[in-house]
Amino acid sequence: MSSFLGIEIAKTALFANQRAQQTVSHNVANANTQGYSRQRAMMESTYTAYGFGANYQMGTGVKITDINRIRDEFTDRQYRNENSSRGMWNIESDILKQVEAVFNEPSDIGISSVLNEFWKSLETFAKDPSSLEARETVKERGVTLSNTINHAFTQLNDIINDINYRISIQVNDINSIADQIAQLNLQIQQTQIGGASAADLMDKRDLLLDDLSELVQFESYVDENGLFTINVGGAILVKGNESATMEFDTSTANGKITWKEYSSEVRILSGELKGLLDLRDDKIHNYLDKLNEFTQTFVDEFNAIHQNGYNLEGDNGLDFFQYVDGILSVNPDIVNNPSKIASAEDPDGIPGDNRIALELSDFRYKEISIDGRDCTIDEYYGSIISKIGVDSQEAARAADSQAFMVSQLDERRQMTSSVSLDEEMTKMIQYLHGFNAASRMVTTVDEMLNTIVNRMGITGR
């Protein structure tokens, strides 16, 4: 046994405590770093199997075996699943609020108010069909109604364009995240092969996974070959250092997201991307359909009545409204000459015969079959607004409760992983004392050696 083992042991203690102190320092430095998990230097005692000719184990000091990061991976999984769902509802809620703003109901400027004004103008017109002012008002209200409805269509389509734009950005984001994760996988693998821990790299990867979970739901696991794998809707996005690419078809308004490598459609279960696709292909698509149905039915039924009448010039009524290629307008002939608005049931009754004008103004009460049910045109419009309201409310509520859930889970993660300054200071003191004590050991052994070397065997000098 070497005489210097004592110093060697103390030296390992000095190094270990110093290294542990550096870890504390690293923790304090990163106390506010996003995605950072606190780290601990793992110490282990070292020993030689047996002493010289003796039957005992001999301690030889301490070593740092690893720098561990302290993290609860189970909660990570839960967090990411809930975060996907939060992302989905959040974006749905955001965009549905925009849809509500398009309709702006209940207010004095929404379609329902403009429609009310139109009905009123028809009533006034029915009172005196010979009055050109009344005719002018009907025409003007008709034009306003057309513009308001067209505006709603345009804005809904704008929202769909915006959604497509967001989808293409998110697909790029996902591809970029997948790429970064694949690179990190490689780095982590290389670091670990060298026997070192890759705590900080893994933190980086976890942060990217958190970001990814907001965009799209995925499963992550380490496969049988030890490769870190991300699976989106049954297809592999990342495996080890390789990543797949999503492609978004921007050539049409309802383009699909496909895998470049597997040439199949990406199955998306949750996340912002799912929310955007849901809005585009389901909810807003549905509102557009309903608004179209509303407009078409309104125009057809109104024109049918109008055509039955005779205008001031004694001619049969024209089409009052025109609805061509999704654009509603008042017949330009009527716009140029409101005398062409039909009011009389009998050409002999011009100009006082108001029977058709009355029928036009009573059209608001007419039960028509729209979309498989019998209701008035106003009621049908009201049902569209209710539907949007219910959808938006549902999304907002779900987004709120998901946000709460996510924050709870994040808190749980923080409970485990975040840096506590009190704790780090305590550790700092602990390692400081360890270091001081080890230094004292060196001095002590030094004194012992001094005794042996300089003071022993001086008899007879």
């Binding site: 509500e100 108010s113 219910v390 938006s392 907002a396 409970m415």
Partner: protein, 310 residues
């Protein structure tokens, strides 16, 4: 449970944000004076609000319809009152003319006045309400009656007839030419009287008086003519009663609609409006909650062990 500084900060920021959001929400409601600002605030309420607004706008319109109809009634009533007065005078003149002792000059005077009165009658029959002829059925743009020269028994006479411009291209005043106004959902009121129905017999009576005076047929004057003039008075009374009944109905409608308007406004206000007292209280509460959380925030920078180590 392990608590760290960053957890406290994050929790604080989240809660502060939520408190501020609620505060902003109440503020917004007060500023907008509405608790339903978008359908998702209350989808059922929003649909109801749309319906109530619709009904309110309809009530307003029906009210204006009823008021316009009342104007028309008033104008009709005035015309009929005038017609009644004229007929009353004609009645007096007829009774006077029936007296056999009249000199030819007296008869001439009476005849002159009768003709004047006939012109006045024609004027009343061609009355308008806001530029529309009330008695013309659907032909509201042309006077329904006119004096035309007609050959009767080989003699050219000026008689009141349907305006010859009207039957143009087969147009005529039909007995069913009722101008109707909407007073509610499937509730209508005819506002006009059909001119020929009202005036045909009246003008006939006046013209037979004129005729009898010209021919000095005192027997006819005291007999058929007097009878006809009296009947005419009856006709006018009948139509005045009709107009009176419609006026009553319209006035009742107006006051019903006024009451409805108040009711629906209240309903609408209950549905989408705000209770200011309640909201202000809520605002104050949210404000103090927000202030409280801010003062909590000031304490978040707690000392750590760092502060006690030397």
């Amino acid at each position: 449970m392990r608590i760290t500084q960053s957890m406290i900060t994050e929790n604080f920021m989240r809660n502060l944000n939520q408190n501020l959001k609620r505060l902003a929400d109440v503020n917004d409601m007060i500023a907008a004076q509405r608790k339903i600002r978008r359908p998702s605030d209350d989808p059922v309420g929003a649909a109801l609000a749309l319906k109530l607004r619709r009904q309110l706008s309809a009530i307003e319109q029906y009210n204006s319809n009823a008021k316009d109809a009342l104007t028309w009634m008033k104008d009709t009533e005035t015309a009929l009152t005038n017609v009644g007065d004229i007929l009353q005078r004609l009645n007096e003149l007829t009774v006077q003319a029936a007296n056999g002792t009249l000199t030819p000059e007296d008869r001439e005077k009476i005849l002159y006045e009768v003709r004047e009165l006939k012109d006045q009658l024609l004027q009343e029959a061609n009355s308008t309400s806001i530029n529309r002829y009330i008695f013309g059925g659907y032909i509201t743009d042309k006077p329904p009656f006119a004096i035309v020269e007609k050959e009767i028994d080989g003699e050219l006479r000026k008689v009141v007839e349907l305006n010859p411009e009207i039957p143009d291209e087969g147009k005529t005043i039909d007995d069913n030419d009722f101008l109707e106004y909407n007073l509610g959902r499937s509730e209508r009121i005819p506002i006009n009287l059909i001119g020929p129905e009202v005036f045909e017999d009246i003008f006939d009576a006046v013209e037979s008086l004129e005729n009898a005076l010209e021919t000095n047929d005192s027997e006819a004057i005291s007999g058929d003519v007097l009878e006809d003039i009296k009947n005419s008075l009856g006709i006018v009374l009948k139509y005045r009663a009709q107009i009176g009944a419609r006026t009553n109905r319209l006035e009742a409608t107006v006051s019903r609609l006024d009451a409805n308007e108040v009711d629906y406004l209240e309903l609408l206000n209950n549905t989408e409006g705000i209770d200011l007292a309640e909201l202000i209280t809520e605002l104050k509460m949210e404000e103090s909650i927000y202030r409280a959380s801010l003062s909590v925030g000031a304490r978040i920078i707690q000392p750590t062990l760092v502060d006690f180590l030397r």
